[in-house]
């Protein structure tokens, strides 16, 4: 009875710690976004929809950070990390229209070529994806070893 009570207390303490860590990470990420946005704000006035695009990205990314933290020390943490890496690739391809970003004001057309940036981001995200796969394999491997012992 006392063991069960202790186990339940331990679980609550663990979950609270995870939730706190997730909150701190989320707030920190939002703080970085907020600080960087101050530099991008003058440009965002010229590009309609940029703020909304970036905000949607930040919201989904923070959600994945929080979910990833809450599921830490389980295999799902790595699964959400993989989702995070794939989300970055997918969202950037979708929002940057294959790397060529175009805008039209009256008869003026502005085109920005983000292809090099997109390739670097994709490579880094693929590296993050590979890291998550390795971590998941490592986790399962260690779990199997502990079970055997």
């Amino acid at each position: 009875m006392a063991d069960a009570n202790n186990d339940s207390k331990k679980k609550i303490r663990n979950f609270t710690f995870k939730a706190l860590k997730a909150t701190v990470k989320g707030v920190l990420f939002y703080g970085i976004y907020f600080a960087l946005w101050m530099y991008l704000a003058p440009i965002s006035q010229m590009i309609p929809g940029l703020q909304q695009m970036v905000e949607t990205f930040v919201i989904v990314y923070i959600f994945l950070i929080i979910v990833g933290e809450l599921t830490s020390k389980t295999v799902f943490q790595y699964f959400f990390n993989m989702v995070k890496a794939l989300f970055v690739i997918g969202y950037l391809i979708f929002s940057l229209k294959n790397g060529i970003f175009g805008l039209t004001f009256q008869n003026i057309r502005l085109t920005v070529d983000f292809r090099l940036f997109l390739v670097i981001v994709m490579l880094l995200s693929l590296l993050g994806l590979a890291k998550s796969v390795f971590q998941a394999i490592n986790y399962m491997n260690e779990k199997a070893e502990y079970t055997r012992i």
Binding site: L36, Y39, L40, P42, I43, N107, I108, R109, L110, T111, V112, D113, F114, L116, F117, I120, V121, L124, L127, G128, A130, K131, F134, Q135, I137, N138, N141
Partner: protein, 259 residues
């Protein structure tokens, strides 16, 4: 496996930090690029070509150099025929530096008239396609393009020869006075000569003359041309051949029937 994972973690963190910091600062730098445009200049070269010059000064106060700054202009007529092209390129504009470039476009009016004589006599509209490109921090290419129209004023708009007046000069010749009128709608002054050759009904030259012309831009011209013809060669009908010899272009013959 922990060490490779840790290494990947460190590498990705480093590159992500570098990439985000670089991207944000590069985009932020855009607001510190200033363009100043001078008054467009028009000049005529000794070989009778018109040069449009646009002085442009680019001040880069951003964090990074600007690479491959280029301006290209294409002037075309209503049908899409290219009249002239201009291209200006600057390899690098260093940070905290100001570069002044002159964007030139040359129009050879003689070539233009070979394509279409309507530019001389009819006002029309020219299409201009302007493209400005640069690479932010020498790695992010940005390009702006615009289409607009510019009116073309004909230098000999509504060119007409009035009714010729014939007065006896001597026993064998008549003095002919031909009124000339047109409006110079062009952006340049028209200075030169108009030559007229008078042909009778069997295509024989019966007389010719020339007059000096000076018509300022956006102003009408009314003058006349005098010459002498042989009484024997004159017929009731025939035609005039008009030649324009100006500082900017030569054109002719323009055939105008009489009688």
């Amino acid at each position: 496996m922990r060490i490779p994972i840790r290494m990947i973690d460190i590498a990705t963190t480093f590159f992500w930090t570098f990439l985000i910091a670089f991207s944000v600062s590069a985009v932020y730098s855009v607001k510190d690029i200033h363009f100043d445009f001078g008054q467009p200049q028009i000049e005529v070269t000794p070989d009778n070509k018109i040069i449009f010059s646009q002085l442009m000064s680019i001040t880069n106060k951003g964090f990074y150099n600007i690479g491959s700054f280029n301006i290209s202009t294409e002037v075309a007529d209503k049908e899409g025929f290219t009249i002239t092209r201009g291209f200006t390129f600057t390899l690098v504009i260093n940070k905290n530096d100001t570069v002044t470039v002159t964007h030139n476009m040359t129009i050879d009016i003689n070539d233009l008239l070979q394509q279409n004589k309507n530019y001389l006599f009819n006002d029309t509209e020219l299409k201009i396609y302007e493209k400005v490109g640069l690479s932010i921090a020498e790695v992010i290419p940005v390009q702006g393009s615009a289409n607009f129209s510019m009116p073309w004023g004909a230098p000999l708009y509504n060119f007409t020869l009035g009714n010729a007046e014939y007065t006896p000069y001597n026993l064998t010749h008549l003095k002919v006075v031909v009124p000339i009128s047109f409006e110079n709608h062009a952006f340049f002054d028209l200075v030169g000569k108009i030559q007229i050759q008078m042909y009778n009904s069997i295509n024989i030259v019966v007389g010719k003359g020339q007059t000096n012309v000076e018509a300022h831009h956006n102003s009408p011209y009314n003058g006349h041309l005098e010459f002498y013809i042989s009484i024997g060669g004159i017929t009731a009908i025939g035609h005039f051949e008009v030649y324009f010899l100006t500082t900017l272009f030569n054109y002719g013959p323009l055939v105008i029937p009489y009688g």
